[in-house]
Symmetry: C2
Subunit: 192 residues, 2 copies
DNA sequence: GGAATAAAAGGACATTTGTCCCAAGCTCTA
DNA sequence: TAGAGCTTGGGACAAATGTCCTTTTATTCC
């Protein structure tokens, strides 16, 4: 659920030693919205530390969380390849340290640095791989299973995140999430 | 819903004029399964003509259709970037003409042909862009809206595809799909 | 510290969707 | 041509989920 890509961080760290001025560091407070949906920006970000959520808001104001981004994950990069508006908003969950690249710098790296190119390519492919089974799973299994899966994979997250975010991630209402949680608790007590 | 990428086809056509032997043409009958989930292959495919469906099957045998691939769409390419098993099965819907690349050829092109590299990069980014709003939409709107959207975008498809595929694409059971279709018909008659 | 605001929890009911059937129509083939 | 096996369509009921509303409990901010 929290996605990471350590290799990317490692490589950018070494890059920065060579050309410090091209890649900036930035820190965002928790709950800062860094990108808003349907806008245009001129930076690509790479997370160095912390967690961000990437989500779509529909016309009714409902949020649907696409993924939680952790160390080494990029955002704002899709707009490099096709000249479109952002599809997601990105908001920091915890304090967030990022590297930021101007579109120009990013493009130059893509063209001139084959390792960078490869890392970006792999990152894109991983995002696709990750999304496919996720939505399929959420459709096919009841809420309870989705919660259990989440708790198993990221026990720490369920304590840090507000219920609303967990619900938005699973794609259900808070009411339904609460119901499922209650029934899980009941089951666990009965099985003692 | 049927995704296409004409630019890619155009470029590969010109490539083939230069080095015909590297890129093969292949034709598949309708309903041929070209890739099976959780396997390993040594080819990447690019659709020249026809439609294929790309889907995940879960443990209960339920299919969940990820996307319908049309002209210029690739499949089997994700496994180039990370050394993993396929996540989707791919089956031809209509007769399917494809170009196929061995992993070796594909890798070489990626490394040595910057235009090819860029086209692949953009294709990956587009796949991500496409998936995000789709699943969000399907969660947020009732089945009826999803059908209407589909009929509006691809009127021809709803006539070619079996109901099962349409249901699997929207992520509901056939029963629910039929119910929604019936109610739509009723509404349309009433509004006359 | 106290008011205002947001988050968490859940009752009651409505709606949606799924499950399990059955039946009609079509296609393929032995 | 009879029957096996799909696909389509839908009835009846069960289960899951959403909506609306209220209450309680944290959190934030003057």
């Amino acid at each position: 659920m929290i996605r990471t890509n350590k290799d990317f961080i490692v490589y950018i760290d070494t890059l920065r030693k060579k050309s410090r001025n091209q890649i900036n560091e930035q820190v965002f407070e928790p709950k800062t919205t860094i990108l808003k949906q349907d806008r245009r920006y001129n930076s690509v970000y790479l997370i160095r530390k912390g967690i961000a959520k990437c989500y779509i808001t529909d016309e009714n104001g409902k949020e649907f969380i696409q993924e939680f981004l952790g160390e080494g994950m990029e955002f704002g990069e899709l707009e490099i390849f096709s000249n479109n508006l952002t599809i997601c908003s990105v908001t920091s969950v915890s304090e967030l340290e990022v590297y930021s690249f101007s579109h120009g710098t990013y493009r130059t790296l893509l063209e001139e640095d084959p390792i960078f190119n490869q890392l970006v390519m792999k990152a894109l492919a991983d995002k696709i791989r990750y999304k496919a089974p996720r939505h399929s799973y959420q459709h096919s299994y009841p809420i309870e299973d989705n919660i259990l899966r989440l708790q198993r994979l990221f026990p720490e997250l369920t304590e840090v995140l507000p219920k609303k975010d967990i619900a938005n991630y699973i794609g259900v209402t808070i009411r339904s999430l609460n119901r499922a949680l209650k029934e899980l608790k009941l089951k666990q007590e009965n099985s003692k």
